[in-house]
Subunit: 110 residues, 2 copies
């Protein structure tokens, strides 16, 4: 398996993407948006925190290019702009499952 050498700037960008995804509330927002676009109010109800807090997280996600924003009258709808985040989550899920299985094997072999 061949791999390219990544520059430090590239690693910084990658690290930053992970940082954006490292907040549970933001993952909750993304997970909720997997059903389709939602208003800020919908999301506020879904993630159980204050509206200003949701708006702040939405801005972070939008700035990262993960969400797009669309305003209709008084209501602002957010939607997923970069589906790759679900691939990321799935990869992590599988890895975590594997890790737990490996731990379980310790007991099996006793």
């Amino acid at each position: 398996m061949k791999h390219k050498k990544l520059s430090n700037e590239a690693l910084n960008l990658i690290a930053n993407r992970f940082k954006v995804l490292s907040e549970p509330i933001r993952l909750q927002i993304l997970h909720t948006l997997q059903e389709g676009e939602k208003s800020v109010n919908d999301l506020t109800i879904a993630v159980q925190t204050s509206q200003p807090n949701v708006s702040k997280h939405l801005k972070i996600l939008q700035n990262a290019g993960i969400l797009s924003r669309e305003q209709h009258g008084n209501i602002v709808y957010y939607r997923i702009a970069d589906e790759s985040i679900f691939t990321l989550c799935e990869t992590v899920c599988n890895a975590l499952e594997e890790g737990i299985k490996s731990q379980a094997e310790i007991f099996v072999t006793v």
Copy 2:
């Protein structure tokens, strides 16, 4: 495309994995280890920071199940224990490339 509903605890675990990967120095360490196992000293030289700092990051990566540790005499070797992190980095890389391309299109259509 069907997707399962994730519990908040699951999202916390996923967020935590992203958090571990959200530090450029840790990505540098992982990227260096892609060549194969290295000693703490090797890694300290590779990532250009202090040895205690490297040890601290190595511990975080090991606790997350991403690295494994093996001591030979005086020297401690670390190696990748969870290859999925490279898949993650690659997915992010591709997404970032796509994002930049989309931005570029704005200029093309002028």
